[in-house]
Symmetry: C2
Subunit: 147 residues, 2 copies
DNA sequence: TCATAAATGATACCTGGTATCTGAAGACGA
DNA sequence: TCGTCTTCAGATACCAGGTATCATTTATGA
């Protein structure tokens, strides 16, 4: 996602324009708010930050940004769904259960690895959802007792 | 989960009693309804079937049955969460996107396989969530064109 | 049997959406 | 620049899937 040279919020707008969506003031506002997020966030959290924007518009923007690949959904260990700026294309997340940090994991070969077990069930794999939970580098260092 | 000899609904109640929950009429009613389910189901679907049971009771029952390991949550490809009778212990699901059939996948070694990539990120894996989508044996046979 | 703790169900509230609709704003050709 | 056409915005209502509160009922076991 992140490229140097011009604002992230513009890159989000570009991703929408590429898909034929118009460049509107509310969408720019949403894009700017998302671009400032340093971590995954809940939909409602974003909406609270944007009292001037209609609820439906916030949710619609999230939806089309996910479709455009600019945002991805992250399933937290507690079952809550968050949104996050992320790499395009298929990938997974290493989610720290201590601090919430999330690291993208590119280069997924899960389906290759599932081949043999799926074959045994005569099941043809076409997709998957994987989230990985644990402790990040920083949190391991801070809590050496349980690291 | 399923053992021979006595009703599945009784096994659900047993799972609750093992955890110190009381044997009550509403819980038996919920357990009986769940025991009759041949597929994963939505919470609201179950509630509609049980108009005599309070909404909170239905949701509380689902929650404690999941905690007791008698039920598991299944994340469908469309993002909806369903519940399903299932094996105890860690496992995954092969979910057919055509017919909705779900097959349990025991013997998960995902975390072992993630070791090396997690190590590269200095990340200590403690858990994961995986759902596998595709086409089941039956649906592959019925639609040979795209199988 | 009876005290106690736990469970129920009504109600209200919350998050995360979607459907519908009217009016506003963008795109674009003349 | 204007008019038209389409999309979009925001209000509102609604839905699914929950949780918190609390008064009343029920199960359990001493
Ligand atoms: Mn991501
Ligand atoms: Mn299962
Ligand atoms: Zn961390
Ligand atoms: Zn199938």
């Amino acid at each position: 996602m992140r490229k140097r040279g011009y604002p992230l919020s513009e890159q989000l707008m570009d991703a929408l324009e590429e898909r034929g969506y118009r460049d509107t003031a509310p969408r720019r506002t949403v894009a700017r708010a998302i671009a400032e997020k340093e971590r995954h966030f809940a939909a409602e959290e974003l909406r609270e930050q944007l009292p001037g924007i209609g609820r439906a518009t916030v949710y619609r923007s999230l939806k089309i940004l996910v479709e455009a690949g600019a945002l991805c959904r992250v399933l937290l260990e507690d079952g809550n769904l968050h949104y996050q700026l992320s790499h395009r294309g298929h990938h997974h997340h290493l989610l720290c259960v201590e601090c919430g940090a999330s690291e993208d994991l590119m280069g997924c070969d899960i389906e290759d690895r599932l081949e043999s077990v799926a074959d045994a069930h005569n099941f043809q794999v076409s997709g998957h959802w994987l989230e990985v939970y644990g402790k990040c580098q920083t949190c391991r260092a801070e809590l050496p007792a349980s690291a």
